[in-house]
Point group: none
Chain length 480, copies 2
């Protein structure tokens, strides 16, 4: 019953949100009173109240004392989405060194970690995961301490096969190889598919970890532009494939990091067919796929895979427990090659963490947790965006992510994002400079901000400082 | 419109049916409610309802009043088909395939695992380690769930720095990088030091995992003979270095696997100086170093390292908890390069297992445990050796290990160790054929037997069967 009521208030809130989104209701508009809303919609007063509460949480409406509810914010106020990229001249630091520096400064105390694309601990089911771990240690003590199955914990693979249903997949436990996070899965797939000197197509802007592993493996890079709304530019890719021999593609079709772009499902099909015609394997990094803000989860490219050419990779690092390092891979026809890489580089995965996640999933705790996490992230996305619009200069552009953790900001061309990083860290604010998101340090006037932590006064304060630094505010000092 | 809906519900039903068919969903499992299914799949409630209706028609699911849908039948309930592996050993099996086969057969029930060079769970401090894990989860909950420090858990590195005292080392926590077991440490060191096509000097016979990782990285191999008593043949190495350009050496100076040979300390000094003169880095795998049977722990080569050219690697897999995957590395002057590899391939280590081991060491539980383990292994080494002498033909040779887990047996020249493996596994006995311990499948009349499990009647019975198989005993059948 409570469920049904919950559903109702959410429906009402959603309809109001759509009206705000379409500009039917504008900033400052007075909304119907709780009583009027309840009468008009044929719902109880408490349901109407909850509907307004949800919109308030998202920062879309505000309650004014003794006056009622008003629209507080409409997306029309958002600056444009970024699309342009500008090459900037020389850099005094390599991209790799920049990444190391940003990571190194993260471990210090008191840092506001706007650079970490992961959920804050507040959003993670710590107590329940601990419980799952303790059950595993108690009931499966021997299997937790000894070497595990090379392919991965059997109970975990069983659960992962079920999870495949969400993205339109059908997988059996024996199709799955577990790994130490998604990064290890990507690394094994690349090593299974390529030899040094081969070219791999990746996204630009794209996750810097991918450039690092390609570099470490001596692979060449073909960068394919990503549009902040519609994802990978397939026409560009198709042209490039005609000119360049590509050993594999490595893409994040659902909620690209940093832009949050999602490749529409029909374009995923086109991508998979385009590559299948040329027999080019696709390594699909779907680590953000479950973090959608829309009505339903986007499909994975693997859904369209008929030839076993898509190697699906993901992990629980962004959903459940970054520190557990529990990832997995469905390598399609390359399963034996990927297993050989795992055997050669790490032998088996850590048994206790993998057993704990298996039990957490078995207990049916995952679905509810994910619904909460998605809702929280969507809310935070909106709150952060609003604060940025408020505190940053007008001439910036900002993405509208459809899922994931990150906002991608285009700053005025004269801003050097790395210099901005250096200034921000002196205020204990860590951001990810745009240079990190391409192999050659482009995007030098872009930054990535993560909204993984709950919005708070501290966050608002940090965004305010950042906004002034971007605007060149003297009181925060230069880069001296 | 009706067409589309029909198509959709049928698709959803079909995918669920596949999951039931493959055993991903089992009899009695609760299925998502109609509402949750509709949300997750982005379909209407009525479509979700129809999908369940179709499965109900087929007798695959049932609706239980006021409770929801449950799986009613899975094909796995049928009796299993008899399992029998009757292939003849192919003449041309690769060393890699052989290793995969030996590992694959390990996960079956009821196997006597003479092929696993690790302590049996009986020797491991399961309860105390579980206690350390629970303390870590309770007291450091946030650090266990979030991304850890890239270089590794600070408390663990503090303890590892202390442990270095045992092998004559002096290390600070900041000199140490933690890894997922020793194998990952070796892999990172190799990737930090070499490029594909480079040559690396290794031991023959030597641990097969090393050949696998070199092969995966496209590295060439220079094999240096190991004498079962005195270890690596330094004269051979010195000669070879005069002829061949070597990018790095990777040796197990303390208790080589499989022979158990230990390079005497004064020869370690000669080795380190010989390589330092030529500026060749030495990757030292010291995973067995603490498992000595003599009066004191042998030194590590790292003890003699003056130029930062020795990259010391080890793990707790053979001492404390194989399944925890807690290893580490002291990369000397190559620390930044090794850290970059870690960042590129795995980002951070699993936080809970590393925190648990740190606490286990802090509690002072390690010393006593190791004294017991060394004593048990020494006893087992002797008991196994005696039983082998009793049950095997007279014309075999056997090593006298000074530490570690393994005996290395030379069998009569007409014996093919891989064929012997195939015969033994039919008696549920797993051994490691000698072919696995060189890059080109030499040592075909050798086997490695591990004495990691307590001596017992079952072990004695297995060694008796093995002895007869080696002797060609007719009653155990041929290879037909």
């Amino acid at each position: 019953m409570e469920e049904t009521v919950g559903f109702l208030y959410h429906q009402v809130a959603e309809r109001l949100e759509q009206m705000i989104g379409k500009g039917i209701l504008s900033t400052g508009d007075k909304l119907p009173s709780v009583r009027v809303l309840s009468e008009e919609q044929g719902i109880s007063m408490s349901t109407a109240f909850k509907a307004y509460g949800e919109l308030e949480m998202k920062g879309l409406v505000e309650a004014r004392p003794k006056s009622g509810y008003y629209v507080r914010f409409t997306p029309q106020e958002l600056p444009q989405a970024p699309f342009a990229e500008r090459r900037l001249p020389p850099k005094d630091i390599s991209v790799g060194e920049m990444i190391r520096e940003v990571y190194r400064n993260l471990s210090a105390e008191g840092i506001v970690r706007l650079s970490v694309a992961a959920p804050a601990p507040e959003h993670l089911p710590e107590a329940k995961l601990n419980k799952s771990m303790m059950e595993a240690l108690r009931e499966d003590a021997h299997s937790c301490i000894r070497y595990g199955d090379i392919q991965g914990n059997a109970r975990l693979r069983q659960q992962l096969a079920r999870l495949a249903f969400n993205w339109g997949g059908s997988a059996a436990p024996e199709d799955i190889v577990t790994t130490q996070g998604c990064m290890e899965a990507l690394s094994f797939c690349l090593q299974a598919l390529t030899r040094p000197g081969d070219t791999v197509a990746i996204e630009a802007p794209g996750y810097f970890g991918v450039s690092m592993v390609l570099n470490s493996l001596g692979l060449k890079v073909l960068e394919v532009p990503v549009h902040p709304e519609t994802g990978i530019d397939l026409d560009y890719l198709e042209n490039a494939l005609g000119r360049t021999a590509v050993a594999a593609c490595l893409f994040v079709p659902n909620f690209n990091n940093p832009t949050g772009a999602c490749l529409p499902d029909e374009r995923k099909e086109r991508l998979v067919r385009m590559l299948a015609r040329r027999n080019i394997p696709l390594i699909e990094d779907d680590i953000y796929g479950e973090l959608y803000f829309g009505k339903s989860r986007p499909l994975a490219c693997k859904h369209f895979d008929e030839k076993g050419l898509v190697l699906y990779c993901s992990s629980f690092s962004k959903m459940l427990a970054p520190g557990y390092r529990v990832g997995w891979c469905l390598p399609g026809r390359f399963r034996e090659q990927v297993l050989m890489q795992k055997l050669a580089h790490t032998v088996t995965s850590a048994a206790p963490t993998h057993a704990a996640v298996a039990r957490f999933l078995e207990a049916g705790r995952f679905g509810l947790h994910m619904r909460r996490l998605r809702k929280a992230l969507h809310t935070q996305c909106l709150r952060y965006t609003q604060a940025i619009c408020h505190h940053f200069p007008d001439n910036i552009r900002i993405t509208r992510p459809q899922g994931g953790f990150t906002l991608w900001l285009e700053l005025p061309p004269e801003v050097n994002a790395y210099a901005l990083y250096r200034r921000a860290i002196r205020h204990n604010i860590s951001i990810a400079p745009g240079q990190m998101f391409s192999a050659d340090g482009r995007f030098s006037n872009y930054i990535r901000l993560s909204y993984g932590a709950p919005f708070s006064e501290e966050i608002e304060g940090s965004l305010e400082i950042l906004g002034r630094l971007v605007g060149g505010g003297g009181e925060y000092g230069g880069d001296g």
